[in-house]
């Protein structure tokens, strides 16, 4: 007679079950692409074995910005005001560089009201995974066009967009971002690899995820619908992410694979899918992006990668420890120093 013991939950490399990485129940519409992204974020942090308490989650306002409540309950969250998540994240991560930052934003929050802060975040290369859940439409206010809607794309209630869309990936590359990716919430495998690589990147990592709005922008005539994205997605490559702690790297014949090492020892491995594309060659990347816009292609993958780019904290040359823990002994000059300073004003 042997009693059947319940199977112990599967744990990650720091011994935590996946449940420790989950969040509150989503209140988004059933079938929303954002919930898929949320799940991938949970999986990425769990698989990488990052302690949830080390993670700081940031967002602005909008459907996408609600999602940090739906993952990593044991991490700290900041749901900021509309379009201003980058500055709040910048302050927090400068104050405590030990935090691992992930921001989730939308196309309205980033490409319209928050475009200025997005631009300057990228320019500073703050270490932050910046996920844009891009559906081309304002969901919470019920279906107005956003600044990433394609020319000719139609609203659910009729009416076509005739303003040029802002390509957040192209913009980020032009601004010198060291990690720029585009993905699709329907391509979970690719998104997972991209998220893990982005988390390992020590600079701003922009991930523009086409994440269809099932309620307001999933109709015939929309270029951000599931069907349109599924029909038009063209991966530039297959991506494998090998974290620094994983030493089970398989031998792969040269010629078909390109490895890009990260400073922490992780490797992003690109498998060719028949297209000649080098994500570290900025000229080629920009030319490919420009052509794809004209050709109305939906290219996905890690578009551009420059892992060695110095982050803002290294430019500011701040100490590695959190500024938050410094006390009087480190911060307050001595009485003698005060007297010496004041002597200049006598």
């Amino acid at each position: 007679m042997s009693a059947t013991l319940p199977a112990a939950p599967k744990t990650n490399r720091i011994g935590l079950p996946k449940a420790d990485y989950e969040g509150a129940k989503s209140t988004l519409c059933l079938g929303c692409g954002h919930d898929v992204v949320t799940k991938q974020i949970v999986t990425a942090f769990w698989e990488l074995g990052i302690e949830p308490r080390r993670v700081a989650k940031f967002s602005g306002i909008g459907c996408s910005s609600k999602t940090p409540a739906y993952f990593l309950n044991r991490a700290w969250g900041v749901n900021a005001v509309h379009g201003r998540m980058p500055s709040v994240a910048t302050g927090a991560l400068l104050a405590n560089p030990e935090l691992i930052g992930i921001g989730v934003s939308g196309d309205g929050d980033t490409a319209s009201i928050g475009i200025g802060q997005f631009v300057h975040l990228v320019r500073r290369n703050m270490p932050l995974v910046y996920v844009v859940e891009n559906n081309g439409v304002y969901g919470l206010t019920k279906g107005q066009f956003s600044a990433t809607a394609d020319v000719g794309s139609t609203l659910k209630g009729g009416g076509a967009n005739d303003l040029v869309p802002i390509d957040l990936c192209g913009l980020a590359i032009e601004l010198g971002c060291g990690f720029v990716a585009r993905s699709f919430s329907g391509d979970m495998k690719q998104l997972q690899s991209i998220l893990q690589a982005a988390i390992a990147h020590r600079g701003t990592a922009v991930i523009d995820v086409i994440s269809p709005c099932v309620t307001f922008n999933d109709h015939e005539g929309s270029t951000k619908s599931y069907k349109y994205a599924k029909d038009h997605e063209e991966p530039l490559h297959e991506i494998g992410f090998v974290p620094y702690f994983d030493d089970t790297v398989a031998e792969i014949p040269p010629g078909e694979v390109m490895d890009v090492p990260f400073p922490d020892g992780s490797v992003v491995r690109f498998h060719s899918v028949g297209r000649d594309y080098d994500p570290t060659d900025k000229d080629q990347v920009l030319a490919t992006l420009h052509r794809s816009r004209t050709a109305k292609e939906f290219l996905t993958g890690i578009l551009y990668l420059e892992p060695e780019k110095p982050s803002f904290a290294s430019l500011l040359n701040t100490v590695e420890e959190p500024l938050t823990t410094l006390g009087e002994d480190r911060l307050r000059p001595s009485p003698g120093m005060l007297a010496a300073i004041l002597e200049r004003y006598r």
Binding site: R53, R74, W76, A95, N96, L99, L316, E328, L331, L338
Partner: protein
Amino acid sequence: MSNAPSTTATAPTGVVVNDFSLQVATANGSGSQTANNVLLRSIFRMGIPVSGKNLFPSNIQGLPTWFTIRASRHGYIGRKRELDVLVLMNPETAAEDALAAAPGTSVVYEKKLAVEKLRDDLRLFPVPFSELAGKLPLPPDQAKLRRLLVNMIYVGVLSDLMGIDPAEIEASIRRQLEGKAKAIDLNLAAMRLGIDHSAAAFQTKLPHRVERMDATTGKLIIDGNTASALGCLFGGATVCTWYPITPSSSLCETFIDLCAEHRVDPGTGRALAAIVQAEDEIASIGMVLGAGWAGARAFTATSGPGISLMSELIGYGYYTEIPAVIFDVQRVGPSTGLPTRTMQGDVLICHTNSHGDGKHPVLFPASPEECFTMAQAAFDLAERLQTPVFVLSDLDLGMNNWMADSFPFPEAPFDRGKVLDAEGVERLKETWGRYRDLDGDGIPWRTLPGTPHPKAAYFTRGSGHTELAGYSEKARDYVENVERLARKLETAREMLPKPAVEERPGATAGLLAFGTSHYGTTEGRDLLEHDHDLPLDYLRLRALPIAREAREWIERHDVVYVVEQNRDAQLAALLRDEMPACAARFVSVLQYDGLPLDATTVVDGVLSHRGRTGGAR
């Protein structure tokens, strides 16, 4: 200073010792600043209370600039409306300045400006400045340098005409131009040219004389922005984010300089502070709130337009309860207004900032030493109260040079407020909620990101939330939360700097002022007592919301003259709102022309309310 004799009774022909207001009119960018600071410091070194005010245009070069020095043996260092001595160097404004001068004013001027053709009721001292500058030992191609040195010639002339000790001028020049031997020699030569010319040309000197006294020992000459930056340094600020705007920029720039010297980790040579020049004021306050949320002492400095831009995030900081320190160095609004003139026009926008309900602690420094101490207090209060705290300075205090008391070294440790570490979370895990009032003072306990306890984390949101920081749209949750925030403001009321009070036996009316209105108000109060037999009590408010002591003081007075530098009587409006039963007691005395409040405004305002006639002088 309160029992000082009146300054109004001086006969025009008599000699007046250590009591004058001197104004130098030049063009912006003409290099007069060094000369003016030397003049100021020389008088200070002779032991005479003094202040300097730079009235400058929003321009880099060419537009008119006036520098005013007030010296007063009685210790009055506010602006004086009446000018005793003019130095006219700027052809653009000479005629206008001369025509506006009161009869009997002493005027030193570039001879070519021919002021004598405009007025015959002034004391005129024509000096051929450009001709004198030609005598300086400089090669002919140094015309620009020659023009700069003209300024030191008028310093020499004033030395002779007023009795300013050349040895103190020399010492001030050496100090001002420390290490630049050639520049020191040239400036000393220019000063001597001025002295020699004046000694030979003018037998009769100015009636306003400078004589050595001993009222500046241990004092400083410093501006408020520098003092605030020092307060941030000694107050433990580690994150400074800012966007350049007059008149606040020098606060952050000074902090940058101080950090380069005093915030370097001796072990690694790395910075112990993060300073970011942001893309705009919205980003500045966003970064401050992010850093404050993470647990750093963070601040920004701005002026009115910046506060307008920051408003949404300030409301966010209030509702999510994040410590932040905001310096508002006020300038004249609305809109771009007069960017280089002073005003106390942001009282309401700071105290009641952002949409929805909300009131915020506001500190009112009135002097450089208070800039120093209140900057430090602001960080303690922000962390203790977990909310944005304003330090409301102004252009006059922030950018002008003031004679100030020395700054006390802060002995007390930083007050980091109610922060739970992992042990604390473990102890309180059954009862703790991020927004739960465990102590009855409206202030909840917070944890800092990274705290190693599975129950330490919480979610910060600007939308409706429960005590446990969960999302909520329930009426009850909302009401309980905002009522707790109101309770927290009452706790703040008891913690903020108390008012400073001066009383006169038998006075039933009082003056109430804050910030830089202190100077014109106290001088005006002395004049009212000595020249008009009207003794008044005085209360200087040092913070909002108003302290219990201020409320009681107001209740004891039949009439309270509220002196402020704005048109809308912003503080009086707040007082009426807080004390409706006393609403009729408040009488406003206002000045809103962009110039620092002067005593005459106060005297005239009070007398006109009393139904007496006319101005004081």
